[in-house]
Structures are given as C-alpha cells and as structure tokens.
Symmetry: C2
Subunit: 377 residues, 2 copies
C-alpha cells in the first residue's frame, strides 16, 4: 500500500480546481492546502501548539538542506525522526535540498553525479546526489519527500534548459529506483519535480518522462525564480493538465495571496512559501483590506484590530497601535503575533477556496478575486 492516498471530493467543472483529502501516515490533509515553511525544524516564531491548535495547520514543510547541515539528518534519525524532534505530530513534506543548494551561487558545482556545494555555515564541502537526498529525507522521516532536481535561474537559453531538464529526469529516475529499494515500511511518498524553465515544450517533455515513474504525486518546480507572474501561471497551465488527475499536484515556492486562487483554478492542490512568515517578521501583514505595513505612522494611535475580519489570536486580542509599538521596539512578540496572523490568513484563504469548490461556487469566488489584489471571502 502506498504511503499516501489522495481522494478527490469534488472537481470544479468550469476550472478544474479540486477539493480533496490527502491521507498521510501523519493524518489527513484537506486540499487545496498551503504548507507553512519550517526551514530549520520550526515554523519561525511559532510553537507547534500554536500551529496545531490555533492555526490548525495539517502539514508543514521542512528544508532538507538546512537540517542536513544542522543538526544533521542522522542525528535527527537517532533522536526519533523529525516529527519527534520538533514535536510536530502531523504531516511533514521535505524538499530535496536542491533548491537551497542552487541558491548558493558561488558555493556549488553541478555534475551529472550530483551537486557539490559548500556549507553556508562552515564552508565544509558536501555532495547531494539523487540517491543521497532520498536517504536524507528517509532519515528525517518525511511523509512526502522530493527528488533532487536542478533549478535554473531565469532567464536561461532553451539549450541550457533542455540539458538541465534531462538531468532532472535522470536524477528523478535514479532517485526513484533507490527509493523503491529502500522505502518499505517507511511510509514516505516521493514526488518527482517537473522542470523545463519557461519553455512549454520542455515542461511537456519533462512531465511525460516523469509520468513513467507512476509517482503518487507530482510537483512543478523552477518557478518564482525571477520570471513574471504571468509566466509562472502559464507554465502551470501547460503542465498541470498533463499530470495524472488522481494524484496531488504541488507547485513549489508560491506565492502571494492573490496568486493562490489562480493556481488552484489550474488544478493545483498543494503550495508552500516563506512569504507569510518572512513578511510577518518584516512588518508586512496580509489583511482582508490588502497588505499593511505596520510601521506606518498612521497606526500609532489606531486602537482597532489588525484585520477586523480576522479571528486569529492576534486580531482577536491586540490593537494595531500595540503591534506597531512592538515592531518599532524590535520585540520578539511582534514576530510571534505577526507570524500567527499571516499564517492564519493563508490557511484561511485555502479553507475558503476549498469550501467554495465543495459548494460548487468556485467560479464565482474566482470572479470576485479578479482584478483585485485583496483576497477576502
């Protein structure tokens, strides 16, 4: 039996948006879902009980690259796996570490064998291969692991993108073969990643090759690398319809709140992004009235809630004036309250979309989003 079972509850006939249930070894995840990012084994500034009881997150993402370097995947395995280590009882998806390594521009060398890179912590050399990144993720005990892929910067030439895409396919095949030898009893699913830069023919060719792996889910990677938003949307529009209808589709590293409905409308089930937590720490808050920069002087005497339509702990409890004060004073409590709110905003947005799909009114929902950067339903 697969470690992962995806059940589609309803598909929007007009758009292809789906509401489903992703059954993992650590609980069921209603989709479409946004996964908060817990890079170093913690969703920044939040306790697991905040995430579970306040926010009701069902799945989070952790970064293999960071955990591999510190505290080390073998240590985490000895300590009982990542769920036990960070005391997160629900589902965890890990990336392969590839994306992070490719961000270490000067520190890496890519060959067919894998990616040679230097730790950003101490300069130690390490090699990630298609097989080793599977091993690292199995040691972490992820519910959903990702294959190693090559993520190119934008723009790039067709030739470079094709060569890289071929390498990504080869790595996926190698990683999958290795995974099939090792996965038994580990309850870990492995997703291949569609690459191909911004070239539709390459995206199609990559998808076709990866379908042969018969994976329980597929990701679309290589987006949010500097291209325009229309281009990211176009690549997803090209790729998603080619992916199996009955498997979850995951667009990696997106996006802004107003983009999420557009991906969902293209049949995407899973997304992740550091935006809600990173923006939170920088004082940029997502509200039903749009993005709000809490440092602005106009909030100094504002005794109202951050977002009058939000029912998170932050909005139920504190004033904008207090939040602004905490931000100006550099207080940790600001990061806590802002992260709590921004994650709530994202998760609530997804819950709203899911409800709209289930109730057969997703097209109307989408229409209300159109031409607005404010997403609030």
């Amino acid at each position: 039996m697969s470690a992962l079972r995806f059940e589609i509850e309803k598909t929007c006939p007009e758009t292809g948006a789906r509401a489903g249930l992703l059954h993992t070894a650590h609980g069921t995840v209603p989709t479409p879902v946004f996964m908060p990012v817990g890079t170093q084994g913690t969703v920044k500034a939040l306790t697991p009980r905040d995430l579970q009881h306040d926010l009701d997150a069902k799945i989070i993402l952790a970064n293999t690259y960071h955990l591999f370097l510190r505290p080390g995947h073998e240590r985490i395995e000895r300590l009982g796996g990542l769920h036990q280590f960070m005391q997160w009882p629900r589902a965890i998806l890990t990336d392969s570490g590839g994306f992070q390594v490719f961000s270490l521009d000067s520190l890496r060398k890519v060959t067919d064998e894998g990616v040679l890179f230097r730790s950003h912590l101490n300069g130690d050399p390490h090699l990630f291969t298609s097989e080793s990144t599977v091993d690292v993720q199995l040691a972490l005990g992820s519910d959903i692991a990702m294959v190693l892929d090559e993520c190119l910067p934008y723009p790039t030439t067709f030739e470079a993108a094709e060569k890289s895409m071929r390498r990504t396919i080869r790595w996926a095949q190698e990683g999958y073969a290795h995974y099939r030898r090792r996965e038994k009893g580990l309850h870990c699913a492995l997703f291949p990643i569609v690459q191909g830069s911004m070239f539709p023919p390459l995206r199609r060719a990559c998808t076709e090759a990866l379908l042969e792996l018969d994976a329980p889910g597929y990701a679309i990677g290589g987006l949010s690398v500097g291209e325009g938003r229309e281009l990211s949307q176009e690549m997803v529009a090209v790729t998603a319809p080619l992916l199996p209808q009955d498997r979850p589709r995951y667009v990696m590293g997106v996006g802004m709140p107003e983009e999420l409905p557009l991906y969902v409308a293209k049949g995407v089930d899973m997304m992740d992004c550091v935006l809600p937590t990173r923006n939170a720490r920088n004082g940029s808050l997502f509200t039903s009235e749009g993005k709000l920069a809490i440092k602005q002087a106009r909030f100094m005497d504002d005794n109202g809630p951050l977002d009058p339509l939000c029912d998170c702990y932050t909005c139920r409890t504190f004033s904008r004036a207090y939040l602004r004060h905490l931000f100006q004073a550099g207080e940790i409590l600001f990061s806590i309250l802002a992260s709590l709110h921004n994650i709530h905003f994202y998760l609530n947005l997804m819950r709203g979309m899911r409800k709209a799909i289930l109730e057969g009114r997703f097209p109307a929902y989408l229409e209300r989003c159109a031409g607005s950067v404010v997403v609030n339903f």
Copy 2:
C-alpha cells in the same frame, strides 16, 4: 479606601518570612512574589496568554522610562492604559524610570529639580521630576507606581550617599504630595524607595524619613549595582525590620534563584529581575540541577527534557537536543521556549517558598538551600 490591601496569612516565627495576599485593582497577588519584567510593554518572547494561562503570573513589571519614550505614556493613556494596550488583565507595577535614567551615564544631569537626560533612541532631551514620574505612571494606569529615586553606582562615599539619600527623600515627599492631589479614583498605589548605598546608618535614616509618608508599601532600592551579594543581603537585613510589618516590602532588581529565599527569609514580599528572560535568550537556563548552558555539545544528542522535574510546556514537550538545535540555529522559538521555562522556574520557586511558609516549614526549606546554588524543592 487604599488602592492596595495587603493581608498577611502567615509569618514564619523563626525567620520573619511572610506569606500574604496583595489585593490590587487587577486581582490578588499571592506573596512572596517574583514579578517578570515586561520592559517595553511585553515580557520578552511571551504572549500575555502564555503568561496568564501557562505561567499563571499574577503581576508583572513595566519600565516607565521605556514606555515614556516609546510609544509615550500619553498615547498609552489615550489607548486605554497599559493593561488595555498590552492586553494584560492582571496587576502591573511600574518603576519610576529613575533606575534606567541613571544607567544612561553620559546622557544625564541630576539636580534637585530632577533628572535631565537624553533619549537613547533619538537624543531628545527630557526631564524626569518627582512629580512628572508620578504623572507618567498614573497615565500608564499602574497598579503600583514607584517614586523617583536617585540610584548611585557602587562604591560611593558616605558623603555622596548621604546627599543623594536626602534628595531621594525629598523627591519621595514631593512625589507623594503630588500623588495625593491626583490619585483619587485611579486605583494606583505609590511606593517610596529606601536608598543609602551600602551604609546602614543611611539606610536607617532614609527608612525613618520615608515612614512618615505612611505608604501602603515600601521598596528597597539601590541594590544589584555591583556590590557583593553579602552586602545586598546585609542592606536588606538592616532595612526590612524597620519597615511596617503590615505593608508589602519590595526589593528591586534581584536576583539569582539561590538569592531569592534569602530575601524572603528577611521578610521581603516582592522581587523582580530581568535575569530569567535575559538569560533565557542567551541560552542560560535555570533547572533543578543548576544552571545549564544549552549550547554545550553534550546536549546535542540528549533526548531528555530540559529539566526532568519541571512541568512547563517546554519541559513537557521538547528535548534538550531540540532546544540546543534551536539555539544554535538562532531560532525565535528558542527564545520563546527558554523564556517560558525560566519564568516558570522563578514563579514555581516562589510558589514553593510560599507553600513552605504557609505549612510552617520554611526554616527546613531554607536549610535545604544553604550551601547550594541549586534551588529545587
């Protein structure tokens, strides 16, 4: 009727330690009590719900100097007062701001009129007077305010200490007169502060003069300024017996966990210190086995709880290995979990002392502390 009522439940006949109830306009505070410090209107890294529901803190301290400068006491008053601003429904004690101003060595000038100083934020000049600091604290809406006092560095000459002590008395008298004109309906108590550096005759003279104010409580200030611990204890031993038996006694700015029982044994009812929260953020944790530096390599693979005898959220939930990882990785969650634990340790220590006094076994409790830096009962 006074804004504050102190009820002594039991006095230890051997030591003079007292268990009592301090009734404020924002709830009853069982004593002896340790007050967590919320300098800028937040106990660093903790939410009010953590403080209230997890830690059951009954009173916290806020710093007038910081709130005066940012966001401003008048703003806080307009926004409904400090309790409303920070959403802390229980008692708040504010210092007068004097101690902080006296730490701004190069930025201040003391005259009989008050303390002229420059903001550490933007260099703006400000004057704190015996009357203005009362006004600021009334605007904040403190349950317990402190008079302006001059806090000398250690060591100092007898002559300088005497002159300063006279000024502190005069400021207390002026502050009190002003307070009596303004306090009606504000439910704010005002405590004078005994000064006198490390000279017992000055401490006695200061106490005698301040008793004429017939205040509902008295503080002993000017300690923890670089003198040895024996000297701080001696000054409290000299002063406390001269203070009214039926009023709360507050020793400002102390101390290490092993010092607290010694103060309580001298009849002290209230204490405050930044140590538990500041040490927490620096990775220094108080446990039943003594102080623990979480960064030590020996905790890397330690799957046990931080303190096996502690029942706080941190100790109930996470391993030392995870806490060390969070600390090494610079994660905000470390500050949260460590602050939660250290404050719990202090509050629990006080609860244990209170119980020992109420049950008539405080002398035995003290004996178990003697010669040990580990306080765990």
